[in-house]
């Protein structure tokens, strides 16, 4: 549609610049003798990193952890997306919000909440179950691989949900209808028609979750380390932390395997969805799907979804709120309730640095997500509509810094930005955020793109519209669900971004997550929770804003102008 080679090349240059620079820095660092300046060539760091006697066991844990989290997140997201978009379940709007709440919670807080609920010594839920059923031992132990998978899966649920739900709602009903005409039941239709057609979205979400959980540090450190379960990211941390001169070169050497795994996954994904024509589902018919009447199953299903949402998401948030009212960590008791106060809230709201970080994070969230989604629209276009070698390269590039374990990539960006004039500014954070979290924009938008039949934009061109006019009037309105998802993912990610910020933020450019980390390092869980809830609140506002705006934009075109 555009002059294809030029657009692809421009984007490869932009995205490549954004994501390659820090990774090249890390690559140089991993082959250098010294740990900060790039000096003598050496492969010692690779030898040391990969000859660790525990490395095989750590890899195995990592595989189980990432694949498990991807399964939990994707299955839950499929279920929630299906009931939310395709059935007449009551109070759907609540579940829609609930499904993306974990996106807004700082991961460390969510993990700690689960520890308070499910630790084997005095976890609140465990105690409750023990009292209820007269058990002697705790039923659940959060400090296990299944525990880690549960929490990481829940944290990544919004990623999966925001990719799958737009695809589910843009689904061509006639495909399902024709299956039903052929006598298939709802369930059979779901298994044989709906799910296979949604394959690109399902795969995209699973891969994104795998890559993300590979880079995740909060869950492995808060839940894994006490359970003595090491995965790649904590293994890297162990290598960094043992020694005052943290060896980021060696950490980068270990991180390279995560990078290799991610790129392999992306190519597998491209291979599995290579006949993209098969998945085109928005044609002129059936844009708005009809709802399946649940009839008798309505209320039982409502109860199931309700309980699930409550236990998995609402309860941990309530724990946060509870913690924010207390002077120190306590299990619920009469004494705890008598000591409750708003002190933490008052202190947080009076703290000038917390307020400044609030402002900075809000700016980064709104502006960053807007620029990020704009770039993502172009990149997705190339990835989906121009399936060439170059577009494959672009897709892998977009994943580069995303798939690097968090603690390492921040240093890569520092090594890079320190050579530019923007070091230590908000701009550096902005660019770093966009570069790292580009897949959050690209994934939902490109899976929405896949569903738009190329005739819809071609006919616009024939009608006399140039490429940009076509983008504005045809492509973008049809992409709105995907764009909204991408924007929400990016904005809420940027609001709670930690890994880059902790390295790049300086006095004056403080951001929320760094402030939260500082509270965590000082063990101030009360303030931490208060600020965390403020953060969730702001994210929710942004999400609602985006959703309302998205709704308006789609309606505006349908109703007359």
């Amino acid at each position: 549609m555009f002059k294809k080679p030029t657009l692809t090349t421009t984007l490869i240059v932009i995205v490549g610049f954004l994501t390659l620079c820090p990774v090249i820095m890390l690559l140089l660092g991993s082959f250098s003798q010294d740990f900060v300046s790039f000096g003598q060539f050496t492969t010692v760091k690779y030898v040391e990193a990969y000859t660790d006697p525990d490395f095989a066991a750590i890899l195995w844990n990592t595989v189980i952890f990432t694949v498990g989290s991807a399964l939990v997140a994707t299955l839950l997201a499929l279920f929630l997306a299906y009931v939310n978009t395709r059935t007449d379940l009551p109070f759907k709007f609540i579940f829609k919000v609930i499904a993306i709440v974990p996106m807004m919670i700082p991961h460390i807080l969510f993990s700690v909440s689960w520890v308070l609920l499910l630790n084997p010594s005095n976890g609140t839920l465990n105690r409750l179950l023990m009292d209820l059923f007269g058990l002697k031992d705790a039923l659940f132990d959060i400090y296990t691989l299944p525990g880690m998978i549960l929490v990481e899966g829940l944290l990544d649920l919004p990623i999966a949900y925001l990719i799958i739900a737009p695809a589910m709602s843009a689904f061509d009903v006639s495909l399902e209808e024709s299956s039903k005409v052929c006598g298939a039941s709802n369930l059979r239709t779901l298994m044989r028609v709906t799910l296979p057609v949604l394959r690109p979205a399902i795969l995209a979400s699973a891969i994104l979750v795998i890559v993300r959980s590979l880079a995740s540090f909060a869950v492995p450190s808060v839940i894994g380390m006490p359970g003595r379960i090491y995965v790649l990211s904590t293994h890297i941390y162990r290598n960094i932390a043992s020694g005052f001169a943290a060896d980021f070169g060696k950490a980068a050497a270990i991180g390279m395997s995560a990078l290799a795994a991610s790129i392999t996954l992306i190519y597998i994904y491209r291979y599995l969805t290579s006949e993209s024509g098969k998945f085109v589902t928005i044609s002129s018919r059936g844009f708005k799907p009809t709802l399946i009447k649940l009839k008798n199953a309505k209320y039982p299903l409502f109860v199931i979804v309700g309980i699930l949402s409550f236990v998995l998401i609402v309860l941990p948030v309530m724990v946060l709120f509870y913690t924010s009212m207390l002077p120190y960590s306590m299990v619920p008791s009469a004494k705890a309730f008598s000591m409750m106060s708003w002190n933490n809230w008052v202190e947080v709201l009076k703290d000038p640095i917390s307020l400044l970080s609030l402002k900075n994070s809000l700016f980064l969230g709104v502006v960053g997500a807007t620029i990020g989604t704009t770039l993502s629209i172009f990149v997705s276009y190339v990835i989906v509509k121009i399936r060439s070698t170059a577009s494959g390269i672009l897709e892998s590039l977009s994943f580069l810094s995303f798939s690097f374990p968090g603690i390492v990539i921040g240093v890569g960006f520092m090594w890079f930005f320190v050579r530019t004039p923007i070091y230590g500014t908000l701009t550096a954070l902005l660019i770093g955020y966009i570069a790292t979290y580009l897949p959050y924009g690209i994934r939902p938008i490109s899976s929405a793109f896949v569903q738009i039949h190329s005739h819809l934009e071609e006919s616009s061109r024939v009608c006399g519209a140039g490429p940009f006019y076509t983008m504005r009037r045809i492509v973008i309105p049809l992409l709105i669900p995907g764009i909204v998802s991408g924007w929400i993912l990016m904005a809420s990610m940027f609001l709670r971004e930690l890994t880059l910020s902790v390295v790049l933020s300086r006095p004056g450019t403080e951001v929320l997550a760094v402030q939260i980390l500082h509270f965590a390092e000082d063990g101030l869980w009360g303030k931490l929770s208060a600020l965390g809830i403020i953060m969730i609140f702001i994210s929710s506002l942004l999400v609602i804003l985006a959703a309302v705006l998205g709704n308006k934009l789609t309606k505006m075109e349908v109703v007359n102008k």
Binding site: S283, S284, G286, F287, E458, V462, G464, G466, P467, Y469
Partner: protein, 362 residues
């Protein structure tokens, strides 16, 4: 407006193999005619259409629309589709689901910044033309297939282009609707005096709609002619076979007789049209369409072009029987009036009209 195409070539690579979608196509499409590109799927007809519109770029050759050169590989000219001033109806109709009927149709005018009043007028006119007046505020998704097709047509016509292109626009309609729409389309297009390029793989559509038909195969145009010429008197065996059901009988030209020739075939001697002037002694193929194989009364058994055979099968399809007649080794398909009193296994006599069976060189 006339369209001229010179040496147009387009290659694809698929699974490491080169496929020639267009193989040096030379073609002139005359102004204000309904011109059909007909051929089996994969013959390159859609590629040719998309090259004319500008949605695909050929590898070599030139395309003129009127006097404007819109594509030339040598001169490095590529006019993007939006500047070619064409109208097009897509196979999927490509009605934008997020707009209502009015916005869909008004779109080409909105892109050219036409004043609002004029847009309203033009859209109303276009919708009236396709008999959808009053549908302006209907959401596009709430239309039936036939209505969508007409919206697509209105949209293609609204900016009054000189050329309109159709990419199998009827293939998504059911059989009855397809027949009606085909008729409508024919009358719309005749009324408009516009150059129309129509791509289809359906021979009946092609015959019913076109002023001229170009038959394509493997990226090449094999034959161009008006429907009657193509149907009755094709120059090419492939075309003859593709354009309608045909019985092909092998044999040798025995004697010339003006426009006709006497043809010695497997089933006997036949008098047939010989417009290709195939010389005596040459091997050739006789083509006779099922509807021109007539039942002959028994007493005429010894006459010209009359043969006797056995009714091998007989299927009642409503308006007629479809039958297969065996004469020696040869099996001929035919249609038989439903009132005839024949059963399978009967011995019957058939006759070929010399003006409706023709010789093709092999």
């Amino acid at each position: 407006m006339e369209i001229r195409i010179k040496g147009l070539t387009r290659h694809y690579y698929s699974e490491g193999k080169q496929i020639k979608a267009l193989d040096g196509v030379d073609l002139t499409i005359p102004a204000n005619k309904i011109f059909t590109l007909l051929g089996p799927s994969g013959c390159g007809k859609t590629t040719l259409l998309r090259c004319i519109v500008g949605l695909e770029t050929p590898d070599a050759g030139e395309i003129y629309i009127g006097d404007d050169l819109v594509w030339s590989s040598e001169k490095g000219i590529f006019v993007p589709p939006e500047n070619r001033g064409l109208g097009m109806v897509f196979q999927t109709y490509a009605i934008w689901p997020h707009m209502n009927v009015f916005d869909n149709v008004a779109y080409p005018l909105q892109t050219s910044k036409t004043p609002k009043d004029k847009i309203r007028q033009q859209v109303a006119k276009a919708l009236k033309f396709v008999q959808l007046d009053g549908f302006e505020n209907r959401p596009a998704t709430k239309l039936s297939g036939g209505q969508q097709q007409r919206v697509a047509l209105a949209r293609a016509l609204v900016a009054e282009p000189k050329v309109i292109l159709f990419d199998e626009p009827l293939s998504n309609l059911d059989a009855k609707l397809r027949e009606e729409t085909r008729k409508e389309l024919r009358s719309f297009l005749t009324e408009l005096k516009i150059t129309a390029i129509y791509v289809t793989h359906d021979r009946i559509e092609a015959l019913a709609l076109s002023d001229l038909i170009a038959v394509m195969r493997s990226g090449k145009i094999i034959e161009i002619g008006d429907p009657k010429k193509i149907y009755f008197n094709s120059d090419d065996k492939f075309v003859a076979d593709f354009i309608g059901r045909a019985n092909l009988i092998k044999g040798k030209v025995e004697k010339l007789d003006g426009e006709h020739a006497i043809f010695a075939s497997e089933i006997g001697s036949i008098v047939a049209l010989n417009s290709q002037k195939i010389p005596v002694g040459q091997n050739a193929m006789l083509c006779v369409r099922p509807e021109f194989i007539r039942l002959a009364p028994e007493q005429a058994a010894e006459g010209q072009n009359i043969f006797s055979g056995k009714m091998e099968s007989l299927i009642f399809i409503g308006e007629a029987y479809e039958g297969e007649i065996r004469i020696g080794e040869t099996l001929l398909t035919t249609t038989i009036e439903p009132t005839e009193n024949i059963v399978e296994g009967d011995t019957i006599f058939i006759s070929f009209d010399p003006d409706h069976c023709f010789l093709l060189s092999t």
